[in-house]
Amino acid sequence: MTIAEVAPRIARGELKSEKLTEDCLSKIEALNPKLNAFILVTGEQALARARQADKEIAGGRYLGRLHGIPVSLKDLIDLEGTPTTAASRVRRDHVAADDAVVTRRLREAGAVFVGKTNLHEFAFGTTTEDSAFGPARNPVDPTRSPGGSSGGSAIAIATGMSLGTVGTDTGGSIRIPAAACGIVGLKPEWGHISATGVVPLSRQLDHVGPLAASVTDAWIQYNALQPPSARTIELPEAAPLNRLRLGMPAGYLFDRLDADVERSVMAAIDLLRRQGATVVDVTLPHANDIAAVYLHLVFGDGAEYHARTLVTRPEDYTRNVRLRLEMARYVLAEDYIRALRGKALIAAEVDRALDGVQALVTPALAIPAPPIGATTMPVKGGPDAVRSLMLRCSQPFNLSGHPALSLPCGTTPAGLPVGLQLVGHKGRTPALVQAALAVEAAIAS
């Protein structure tokens, strides 16, 4: 069930928001004990808001496609009057005094908040295992991670516990769980969606954006999260596939892929070619420096934000997150500056790779959802660190700030989802969504 499917029925009064919200709350009640997607369920408030939405719509005051739609928020986004835990005991006494800007925008669009979703503590990880509330579990295979850090959000969409959700992405934390759970994740262009009222990991790499059951649903949410002056009423239409020109950056983004992931991604790219898209080779000359640049920036920024509580309340962090933050404190200023210069260079290289194409096409996640507890995965003969593998395909576009979207492109023989990533031009997110609609339709066919 998608937002695009139910919104017209709600608008016509054929489907009540109260019923839809009850259905989501029932799914949460049934599935959350097993999957641990939600940290907080705001059932009573949600039902009250849903009944209010039904009255408004019956009275002729329909606000748009999100009116009466049950949505969730990653629990580092403020929802007035509720704790924003960031999945950490460090914030156990926190209660949000106000909505985050993105929360307010969803509220103004008439969305119904059903709860706050689990995440990797302080968004500092890719698996949603290190959480004060316990690990979240992949709905396809609960022995595996849902990806992260927005793992609970991805589970919520994949299972229908909410129809929309908002997550954050500092190195891939929207796109990674979207790929691991078989849904769509849109990381907007850096700075376009407000991060005010969102607990930061790295303010220069953090992006706030939607996870969704389809590209259209991602657009509907993204559109509402935008500043009012940027919003549109019409849904974007798919770009004609035979006029779609994609750039494929061979090398770094394709050279450490799990064999099953590689097969699915290459099959999807071949399918696009057969259906008329043009796929050309492009290069990112400094791609091999991306991980080093990213590490020094996210460590420097994370160390600054957590410096006080690492001294006063170290025992309130999960062990792995505390150790990474402690390590982060050893980054030297000169190396942070080197990384800043590298970031600017990589952004310019992504711009250059996009010359003459509508989007770049890459894998979204180099491996399928890893088993919970795994620290390495065998890829091309050698064990690689899970964290590095999971960040590898997504983090370049946090450094560059370009809009990027993950969408499902098949499954492994074990049934684990695989994600394809499209990366668009800055200032042209609607064109990226149009390309994604075309790719989504081609893969579905």
Binding site: R324, D335, R338, A344, L345
Partner: protein, 65 residues
């Protein structure tokens, strides 16, 4: 400070703070720092400094004068 010196100091500090689990992690960080310092966008004070827009110039294949 060379990376070897930094790593030795960081390891000693981690031991002193009762965090020996950090030592292998610091060794990984040192490898990443080594890569960062070897990158071709870094300046050398004995030569002409790159311009403020050097990153963009380099990506365009242009001059960094």
């Amino acid at each position: 400070m060379t990376i070897a010196e930094w790593l030795a100091d960081a390891k000693a500090d981690a031991e002193k703070r009762g965090l020996p689990e950090l030592i292998p992690m610091l060794e990984s960080l040192a490898q990443a720092t080594e890569r960062l310092r070897a990158a071709d966008w870094n300046d050398d004070a004995s030569t002409q400094p790159t311009a403020p827009s050097a990153a963009a110039d380099l990506a365009q294949g242009g001059s960094t004068e």
